[in-house]
């Protein structure tokens, strides 16, 4: 029982360290103290981030579809909101 608890605590710590590494991946890598096997290599994390952003920005850069612009025009015609 106690052993299970220890394992849980350990893995929770790993998670926290990993998060920390995630926030300041570059800094952690530089310090050379990354002994956590679950910590993600800064370069890999950077690559993942870039791919995610590329996928997302691919949609962001698309022109706004007419149907959505038309919708806003219709909403405006019906009634303007009182305040913003």
């Amino acid at each position: 029982m106690r052993r299970t608890t220890d394992v849980n605590t350990a893995s929770r710590n790993d998670g926290l360290q990993d998060e920390h590494a995630g926030d300041i991946a570059a800094g952690a890598a530089e310090s050379g103290t990354v002994a956590n096997p679950q910590a993600i290599d800064a370069k890999i994390q950077e690559r993942l981030g870039r791919q995610l952003k590329a996928l997302y920005d691919d949609v962001v850069r698309q022109p706004v579809p007419d149907r959505l612009l038309d919708l806003i025009a219709q909403l405006e015609e019906k009634k303007g909101p009182d305040t913003i």
Binding site: L55, V59, V60, P65, R67, I84
Partner: protein, 190 residues
């Protein structure tokens, strides 16, 4: 400028970001635009509850996310055997970019548990802070952090990226970037 002109401009400015988030939830372009449409209608109707000076984008993302989950609950109730057939995939329509690397990433992202993907997108792509993402998702900051962290680790597993050696040369990332550029120009041409 009348208030409604102002609101219209603010809303229109947020549409590209709303669409990108909707895509990441729906994985399907038409559904994503339906979701954005619903979001615009709800936000227009409820603009009175928006507190001026707070983050309009976060407010809109919250509405979009709520609309997404309530629509899905509704559909699940409608369809008896709602066994997730309509479960959402980012990979629904394979697009022109057959670049393996990029496609692998797209599929790995789609394989993530929904809550992890959502957290990762909000923080890693939409540019929200952990605090804002927590507000949008209606959960605690620590929960968002651990979801993002687990999402990253899962992606590394799925993509079998065990160490930096797997990264290949800089050429890899450059080709990903240029691929993103060419995909964009395809859309612009349409």
């Amino acid at each position: 400028m009348s208030p409604s002109n102002n609101l219209r401009d603010l809303l229109i400015a947020q549409i590209p970001n709303l669409r990108a988030f909707a895509y990441s939830l729906c994985g399907n372009g038409d559904e994503a635009d339906d979701l954005v449409q619903e979001t615009l209608m709800r936000s227009w109707a409820n603009i009175g509850s928006f507190q001026e000076g707070t983050n309009l984008r976060a407010w809109l993302f919250t509405i979009l996310r709520n609309a997404f989950y309530s629509e899905r609950r509704r559909r699940r109730n409608e369809v008896d055997n709602g066994d997730g057939e309509a479960e959402l995939r980012l990979v629904d329509a394979p697009r022109q970019d057959s670049h393996m690397d990029f496609q692998d990433f797209r599929e790995a992202l789609a394989d993530l548990p929904e809550e992890q993907r959502e957290a990762l997108v909000l923080v890693g792509a939409s540019g929200f802070s952990y605090e804002e993402a927590a507000e949008i998702c209606g959960c605690r900051v620590g929960t968002v952090k651990s979801r993002v962290s687990r999402a990253r680790r899962r992606l590394v597993e799925l993509l079998a990226l065990e160490n930096a050696a797997d990264l290949g040369q800089d050429a890899t990332s450059e080709s990903v970037l240029s691929m993103a550029g060419s995909v964009t120009s395809q859309f612009q041409r349409r």
